[in-house]
Amino acid sequence: MILLINTDLLVIGGGPAGMTAALKAAKRKAEVIIVERYHELGGQLTKQTHRFFGSKSEQAGTRGIDIARGLTKEIQNMSEIKVLTEATAQGYYEDKIVTVSYQNKFRKIRAKRIIIATGASEKMMLFENNDLPGVYGAGAIQTLMNLYGILPGKKVIMVGAGNIGLIVSYQLLQAGVEVKAVIEADSEIGGYLVHASKIRRTGVPIYTGHSVKSAIGESSVKGAEIIKLDENWQMITGTERFIKADTICLAVGLRPLVSLLIQADCAMVYVPELGGDVPIRDENLKTTNDQIFVAGDAAGIEEATAAMLEGEIAGLKAASEIGYLSEDVVEETRRLKRELKKLRGGPIGRKIRRGLSKVRGDDNVKKNRYSHLR
């Protein structure tokens, strides 16, 4: 017999969004279960050894791993929260039940509300020989290096000059690995310029307007052929150049992990600014399925500060819908939304703002990408 567990709130994913959501709801006395497929809480934060950007009030300046440790401790001290690690949410069923494989056993969970905070997965990039051993995703390299202390190689070519590419380059340098170059297809660096400058001054060249044409090597990476791109991202023949390396690291973007949301019939839209398919939701992060909220990178690729604020808003709203009302809910929600708005206010947030304008409102619901499945 498969055990059925009942709870007020189920949080799927124990990254910063899921952790803050659980804490907010539990502090209002809601009974919460967090399921996390990894063996500890923290999500992306467990790999981030660098100091975080963002607002000081949401722990900017603190290293990602320390933010994760702090939140984990807070969660352990809350008797209202039950954490299941090595627990992967597998499916959402019509009877509003979520199935979970928990330490190799199957469980069913029925919750009054669900917050999906599953984060994101890495995008792959097409080029010749991209299946050669030595071609890694940035996430894999961070996991090897920062969690297990294993170096991926000695000489690395980084592909992608967004924040992830720049930060992982810096972490590789700190680990004593030589970063031969950062390759970026766009004509400008996408990540924060302070990150770019800090690797540049160690001597790492950043080639904007370039891409990888092919990985070179027989049984493993021996280098890469890079090539210049024109303004339409077309390769300019004759500009090929060989760079010697034993590792090619791809940091070309993330895509929200939304399969559970699709299963749960949440209306989805394709929003390139947010990284791919994302659910339509209102200001409280409620999707078109009344039982389900979304928060963090699963709602659109952004930053940890935004993920935590979204988690808090969703957690608060979910708790009050379940019936755990407290006087300060309105004021607190308003404050969180104000913070989020401030964060997304600048030029860096422009893309996010444009993306968000596509996930609200009835007109957008009609564009549901998966309605034909019904």
């Binding site: 607002s55 004509s187 400008e188 302070v194 540049r200 001054r201 904007t208």
Partner: protein, 161 residues
């Protein structure tokens, strides 16, 4: 150009460098943070309120050179490692450093410019790595005046390499 290469231009730098008179007065922070990003820890780190309060978290930091004492408190607070303190009269530069091994006082090391080129030898005169800095050490070096505005990183290890 900064957005293509990661190397700030002289125009960029001019906008964050105090005039000669202020430089001659003694140590002062140079904040090389050139794009509007949602970030503000530097403001909270300054005991002298020399960094203006951010109206909007996306604002670029603004330093009041007359209030800045060059104490260096802000250096390790910046996640972008973008803050340096230049002491013109004493030929000293303080910079953030997050690599191991840390240099020792008295060491001669390479001074690197913003493009990562070794341009001169410098002498390490202070190494501060207190717990409150959370693993970002602040290294003070002595170097020739003409390189004070050029050197922004050091390379520890054999000088012959």
């Amino acid at each position: 150009m900064l957005k293509r290469t990661g190397i700030p231009t002289s125009d960029d730098l001019q906008s964050v460098t105090p005039d000669k008179e202020r430089l001659l007065e003694g140590p002062v922070a140079i904040i090389e943070c050139f794009n509007e990003i949602p970030c503000d820890p530097c403001f909270y780190s300054c005991p002298f309120k020399a960094i203006k309060k951010f109206d909007d978290i996306n604002d670029k930091p603004e330093l009041d050179y007359s209030k800045c004492t060059g104490c260096g408190n802000c250096i390790a607070s910046c996640p972008g490692l973008a803050i340096f303190v230049v002491d013109y009269p004493k030929n000293r530069l303080s910079l953030p450093y997050e690599f191991l091994p840390l240099p020792s006082v008295g060491d001669k090391v390479w001074g690197l410019n913003r493009a990562g080129k070794s341009i001169c030898q410098v002498e390490v005169i202070k190494v501060k790595d207190p717990d409150k800095n959370d693993k970002t050490a602040v290294i003070t070096i002595r170097l020739s005046k003409k390189y004070l505005m050029e050197v922004r990183h050091i390379k520890v290890g054999d000088l012959d390499e």
